[in-house]
Amino acid sequence: MEGVAIIGVGQTRYLRVNPNSHDEMAFEVTNKALEDAGLTIEDIDNSVTCTNDFWDGRTISCMTVTDATGSSRVPTTNVEGDGTYGVLMGLMRILSGHHNTTLVVAQSKGSISIPGLITNAIFDPLCERMLGLDAVSSAALQARSYMAKYGITEEQCAKVSVKNHKNAKNNPYAQLPLDITVEEVLRSRMLADPIKLLDASPVSDGACAVILARESVAKTKCEKPVWIRGVGHCSDTYHLGDRDLSDVGALASAAKRAYRMAGIKNPREEIHLAEIYDAFSYMELMWMEGLGFCERGGGGSLVDSGFSEMGGPLPVNPSGGVLSAHPVLVAGLARIAEAVLQLRGEAGDRQVEGAKVALAHGIEGACGQGHCVYVLQK
């Protein structure tokens, strides 16, 4: 099988409010990714956008970014979901053998609406939606379930927030670089027990673009291609009550598929950094377990040991993660963009030295119903 590489990335700075419109942001990152790849729009022969009608407040919202992404010139498809799935679509289009290069763009403006209203609409209108559940309160049900089952403490969750906001200080794209202590996280305002304000990701505006190329193009056009060595995705069931919320079976399945494709036998040893979707602090602990960095329930001890710190054996979220900027749909694509910068050695003060293999991860749905995992290699 011919390889596929990421040859260009572009991001806006992530902000609570970006005064540019959604299509202006999409245009900005499209141009940044093209410049990064040393291409012009004429070189792009396929495009994928990631939009969501509820977040965008428009029906068939994908059609509103065709102009800003140059997509009226080429075959374009849309993914209504996280950017990691947009890359999956782009990867498949290239592997079809009909395209040389694919532009993947995601944009999101959390500032235009009331996020709780939109995430409430995730839930079945005949059931849980009537209870007022949203992304935060449903995550709180999962956090409680997970923490009770494995004896994970609020302090261990807080350590994730402290680490990631500190990492964000070295990331010029991050929205919330913060010097905070575990005490400050624990004392921050309770949103939905056990989740406090500083355990939760912010509302964000932003956009990200990546350019994929088939092997023959990547090798001739790009000095520092980053290769997609493995990808896997899997979803759990829809209704919260039908799932064991403390379990990470869907992620473990996605990771297993990605590792098998990439030939990864021991992820803990073979992966040099991971960018994972920490929408809430407890999620980083759970997802480390699902990714096989430790046994089930071992996420708390892992963060206690410094394993995931910068300078630790496997830095997790050197960018500051989703806790430091959470543009919905964009956030998973931003994980891929950061992994690419790290593997190229272009991550500035947050560079993980000697990084050759990176993992990037995105989620969809309430409480990480769906997961998409990438193994990337320089």
Partner: protein, 153 residues
């Protein structure tokens, strides 16, 4: 109308989307709400292959993909599996003013969790494993909130 957004040089247009929907419950969920509305009975259904009893009932088992055939009457009591206390307001969607409690309850006779409100309960003394009992409304409309909440049993 549009308003100037601080000194950013850009304006925002304030508006809203109004949409009306008639959600179809389907055969299985229609029966579920009919039993609650008319008889204050909670029904789940059982997978003919794996034997798991789901509530709310489903058209097919998500694990086995088998068509569910057998409705099972469940108790109105159960055990709390997880919970939270919502302490922030979101306009329009919340069934009561915060703080209020939500939980996942495993009803006696069911294998899956039923997500609902917790009421007549000290919000600071909720514990996993508590025994709970459904409280039905006197006037019922055939929806989830015909069960007002679950209270300590």
């Amino acid at each position: 109308m549009t308003v100037e957004l601080g000194d950013t040089g850009t304006r925002i247009h304030q508006s809203r989307i109004r949409l009306r929907y008639n959600w179809w419950l389907g055969q299985v969920m229609s029966r579920f709400y009919r039993e609650i509305k008319e008889r204050c009975k909670i029904f789940g259904n059982k997978c003919p292959e794996c034997g798991l009893v789901y509530v709310p009932p489903k058209e097919n088992c998500p694990k086995c993909f088998a068509k569910m055939t057998e409705f099972v009457e469940l108790a109105d009591t159960g055990t709390l599996k997880t919970f939270t206390v919502v302490r922030y307001p979101v306009p329009f969607i919340q069934p009561r003013n915060p703080p209020f409690a939500l939980g996942v309850i495993q009803l006696d006779g069911a294998d899956t969790g039923f997500t609902h409100l917790l009421g007549e309960i000290d919000l600071e003394k909720i514990e996993i494993g508590m025994r709970l009992k459904a409280v039905f409304r006197d006037v019922r409309e055939g929806n989830l909130l015909d069960i007002m909440f679950f209270k300590p049993a």
